[in-house]
C-alpha cells in the first residue's frame, strides 16, 4: 500500500469511528469530562484552592506576569491554562543533560533565536521523580521539599519555571496538588524550608517546555530553513505529560480534533511535517524508570514491538518525535539490539525541540548533538536537505581542536562565574544580564 493510500484509509477510518465529529457539541463533551476528572475534594481545579491559600497567607504564589508574555491555551476539562512565553527559568532534566544533551541545548538555541529571555542556573536539582518512581525511596514531604526548593529559586529571581522533563512536569503537578490539598504536608514542610530561609512557593501553572514550544511553534516555523512537507512524522506523547494529572495538559481542536494533547503533535504539524497515526499511539514507550536501567529486556521489547514497528508498518513514519527524556532514550536506544533478531528498523528518534531546531537550521552536531543518538538521524536530515557531511566534517575538526587545546568551547550563553558554582548570590541575575556591579569578592 502506498503512503497516500494509507492516509486515505486512516481518514476513512476516523470518519467511520467518529461519524459525528463535525456536529460534536464540545461543551457537552467538556461537561462530561469535568465530571470524569472531578476529585473527591469537590473542586473543578486545584487552582481554586491555590488562590484561597494565598489569601490566607499560607503559601506564596509565583504569578505569571504581563512581562512573561502569557498566552492562553485550553485544557482537557475546559479550564484555560496560561503559558508564559518569556522570562523563563530553565528547569533542566537529569537524563537529558546526562544522555541527550542536544535536547536542552536545542531549547536554549531556539530561545536565543527567538529572543526569549531565560535563566539557566546551577542552583537547581532534578525533581528526583525518576528515582522515586523507580525505587520508592522517598516520601511526600521530601518530594515536596525538592519541588518547592527549586520553585523558590525561580521565584526569588522572578523567572517563571519551565519544566524540561516530562516526568518532572507530571510529578510536579501531582506534588503541587498534594501541597495544596493537604495541610499536613505543608505543616511538615514549612519548618524545613524556613531552616533554609525559604518559604512555600507554588507557581501559578506547571508548564512543560513542549507546551511552550507548541505555543511558539507557528512563530518559530517562520524561521524554518528546510522544507518538511515530505516528512512523515509519528508522535509519541509521553505518559507523564498527559496521563499523570490529565487536567493540566493543553489540548487544541486543531490537533487530532482535540482528542490528543496539543504538544508535541501540534508542533510537528505547525512545522509542516505530515503527522501520521498508528494504533498504539496511546501506549507507553517502555522506559519504566527502573526497567531502563536494570530490566531492559522489557524496555527494548516494548519500545520495538509496541511503538517503533507499529509507527513504521502502519504509519509509514520516517521519524519518531516525542517530548520527554525517558521516551527519547528508550525509543532511540532500544532499536539497535533488535537487529540481532532481524528487526532492522532504525527509525530516527528526536525530541520535538531537536526536530524544530534542526528544521530552523541549528547545527545538528554542535547544537542538536545528534551524535548521542543511536538511530539514523543523519538519514533523516539528508532527506530534508541538511548538508550533513559538511557539518560533520567541521564538528570532527572541532572535537580534534578541543582535544588538542587549539579551540575554546563555544557557548550558548555566558559561562557562570566561579562563585555561582558555590553559592546562589543575590545579584546573580544582574551580573548575568550585564547590569550589575561586580560581586564584592570577585577578582
Amino acid at each position: 500500500m502506498s503512503a497516500q493510500e494509507v492516509d486515505k484509509k486512516i481518514e476513512e477510518g476516523i470518519k467511520e469511528a467518529f461519524p459525528m465529529t463535525d456536529t460534536m457539541d464540545w461543551n457537552e463533551v467538556y461537561q462530561r469530562i469535568i465530571y470524569r476528572y472531578s476529585t473527591p475534594h469537590g473542586l473543578n481545579h486545584v487552582k481554586e484552592e491555590l488562590y484561597k491559600l494565598e489569601d490566607k497567607g499560607e503559601i506564596i504564589i509565583h504569578h505569571i506576569k504581563p512581562y512573561n508574555n502569557p498566552v492562553k491555551m485550553q485544557t482537557l476539562n475546559g479550564f484555560p491554562k496560561v503559558i508564559p512565553t518569556t522570562r523563563l527559568w530553565q528547569h533542566k532534566s537529569c537524563g537529558q543533560c546526562g544522555h541527550i544533551p542536544g535536547y536542552p541545548t536545542s531549547v536554549f538555541w531556539m530561545m536565543n533565536k527567538m529572543e526569549v529571555d531565560y535563566m539557566d542556573e546551577p542552583h537547581q536539582t532534578s525533581c528526583t521523580g525518576w528515582n522515586y518512581h523507580a525505587s520508592g525511596a522517598s516520601n511526600p514531604v521530601a518530594l515536596a521539599g525538592v519541588y518547592v526548593r527549586n520553585m523558590w529559586r525561580a521565584y526569588e529571581i522572578d523567572y517563571f519555571p519551565l519544566i524540561h522533563c516530562g516526568t518532572s512536569f507530571g510529578h510536579y503537578k501531582e506534588i503541587r496538588n498534594m501541597l495544596v490539598l493537604h495541610k499536613e504536608i505543608r505543616e511538615k514542610l514549612r519548618p524545613i524550608m524556613r531552616k533554609m530561609d525559604m518559604d512555600i512557593v507554588i507557581p501559578e501553572e506547571v508548564v512543560h517546555y513542549s507546551e511552550w514550544l507548541y505555543t511558539m511553534s507557528k512563530k518559530a516555523a517562520q524561521q524554518r530553513k528546510y522544507n518538511l512537507n515530505e516528512v512523515r512524522a509519528a508522535v509519541h506523547t509521553p505518559c507523564h505529560v498527559y496521563k499523570l494529572v490529565p487536567e493540566d495538559t493543553i489540548y487544541d481542536p486543531d490537533v487530532f480534533q482535540g482528542r490528543r494533547p496539543a504538544a508535541p503533535s501540534g508542533t510537528v504539524q505547525n512545522f509542516g511535517a505530515k503527522l501520521v497515526d498508528y494504533s498504539t499511539w496511546w501506549d507507553c514507550c517502555g522506559f519504566g524508570f527502573r526497567h531502563i536501567l536494570t530490566e531492559r529486556e522489557f524496555s527494548r521489547s516494548f519500545a520495538l514491538f509496541k511503538k517503533v514497528i507499529p509507527a513504521v508498518e502502519e504509519g509509514k513514519a520516517d521519524v519518531f518525535v516525542t517530548s520527554d527524556t525517558g521516551c527519547v532514550t528508550t525509543l532511540d536506544k532500544s532499536q539497535w539490539a533488535g537487529k540481532a533478531h532481524g528487526f532492522n528498523y532504525n527509525l530516527p528518534v528526536l525530541a520535538d525541540a531537536q526536530f524544530a531546531a534542526i528544521a530552523m537550521g541549528a547545527d545538528p552536531y554542535k547544537i542538536a548533538q545528534i551524535h548521542w543518538h543511536a538511530t539514523d538521524v543523519e538519514g533523516f536530515m539528508r532527506k530534508i536537505g541538511v548538508d550533513v557531511d559538511d557539518y560533520k566534517e567541521k564538528f570532527i575538526q572541532y572535537l580534534a581542536d578541543l582535544r588538542e587545546g587549539k579551540a575554546e568551547p563555544e557557548y550558548l550563553y555566558k559561562p557562570h562565574r566561579k562563585i555561582d558554582f558555590y553559592l546562589s548570590v543575590p545579584e546573580r541575575v544582574k551580573w548575568y544580564k550585564g547590569e550589575g556591579q561586580k560581586s564584592t569578592s570577585s577578582k
Partner: protein
C-alpha cells in the same frame, strides 16, 4: 414484577460490589485469619504493613471504588510482559486481603512501569499508579526483602541523587553494562571528555554529572532528605550507603558555611577555590 423480586439486594456503597463473589463485602477478619497461608511472624508484619498503607493520607483519596472491569489491566504495559496486573491489586485492597497484598508487594509491585495509563482510564478514577507508589514507599520504609533486592543494583543512582540532586551521570553508560545501546554509546564512553566539552553550556561539560549544581544547592538538597526522613528509611535498607552520605553531608555543610561566611564578610578569595566544589 415477579422477576424483579428474585434479584439479589446489593449494598448501596459501590465499593462493596464484587460480581465474582456470592457474598458481598470484605471477608470477616476471623475468616481471613483462618485462611492465611503466612507464618505468624510474616502475618504480623503483613498486617502492620497493610495498616500503615491504609492510614497513609493518600489512601482514601486514591482508592475510590472498583467495578472489577479490568480496564486498568487491559491497557497495562507491564501486564503484557509480567505476571502482574493492577486490577488484582485494587481488588485485594478493596477487600483488605492482607496476605494477598503482602504477596503482591513482595513479588509483583516492582513490575509496574509507572505509565499512569491505568489511572487515566479507570472509570472509578482510582489513582492506581499512585497506590502502587504508596506500596513501594512502604516496602522501602519496612525494609522488605523485595525492596532491598530492587535497590541493590540501584545504589549508584541513589548516591548521586541524594548527594547532588542529579540522578544519572554521563559516565554511567559503560560498554559492559549497556552493550545493547549500540556502537554509538561505546564510542561516546571512550571519548566522553571531549564530547562533553563540545556541549555549548558550561554546566553540562563534566562527565561525572548531568549538570553541575552549586554547592549550596547540593547541601540544601541533602538537608531536605535528612529532615524529611528519607535518610532514616534508607538506613534500614542500606546502612553503608546511609553512613557514607551522612559523612559527605557533614563535610560539605561545613565547607559551605565557611565559604558563605567569608563571602558575606567580603573576605573570599575565589582564586583559592577549585573551579568545581566536586574537586574540593
Amino acid at each position: 414484577m415477579a422477576q424483579a423480586k428474585g434479584i439479589l439486594q446489593l449494598p448501596d456503597d459501590p465499593r462493596f460490589l464484587d460480581m465474582a463473589y456470592d457474598v458481598q463485602g470484605p471477608v470477616p477478619e476471623e475468616e481471613r485469619n483462618l485462611l492465611s497461608n503466612l507464618n505468624p511472624q510474616d502475618r504480623e508484619i503483613a498486617i502492620k504493613f497493610w495498616e500503615s498503607v491504609k492510614s497513609d493520607f493518600r489512601f482514601n483519596e486514591y482508592l475510590r471504588g472498583c467495578l472489577n472491569c479490568g480496564v486498568c489491566t487491559s491497557g497495562c504495559p507491564a501486564a503484557k510482559f509480567y505476571d502482574f496486573g493492577p486490577r488484582e491489586m485494587i481488588q485485594y485492597m478493596m477487600r483488605d486481603e492482607v496476605d494477598k497484598i503482602w504477596e503482591f508487594t513482595n513479588k509483583k509491585v516492582w513490575a509496574c512501569v509507572q505509565c499512569y495509563t491505568c489511572s487515566m482510564r479507570c472509570p472509578f478514577n482510582n489513582e492506581i499508579a499512585g497506590l502502587i507508589m504508596v506500596l513501594r514507599e512502604y516496602a522501602v520504609k519496612f525494609a522488605l526483602p523485595s525492596a532491598k533486592e530492587i535497590l541493590a543494583p540501584y545504589r549508584r543512582v541513589l548516591y548521586t541523587v541524594l548527594t547532588m540532586g542529579n540522578q544519572v551521570t554521563p559516565d554511567m553508560i559503560q560498554p559492559d553494562s549497556f552493550p545493547d545501546w549500540g556502537p554509538q554509546a561505546v564510542e561516546e564512553s571512550k571519548n566522553m571528555d571531549v564530547y562533553r566539552k563540545a556541549i555549548p553550556v558550561d554546566l553540562m561539560q563534566r562527565t561525572d554529572i548531568g549538570w553541575h549544581p552549586s554547592l549550596q544547592t547540593a547541601v540544601e538538597m541533602m538537608t531536605i532528605m535528612i529532615e524529611s526522613g528519607v535518610m532514616d528509611s534508607l538506613k534500614g535498607v542500606d546502612k553503608d550507603l546511609y553512613d557514607m552520605i551522612m559523612d559527605i553531608y557533614e563535610e560539605r555543610k561545613s565547607q559551605l558555611e565557611e565559604i558563605k561566611q567569608k563571602w558575606e564578610k567580603g573576605e573570599l578569595d575565589e582564586s583559592e577555590l577549585p573551579d568545581s566544589w566536586l574537586d574540593l
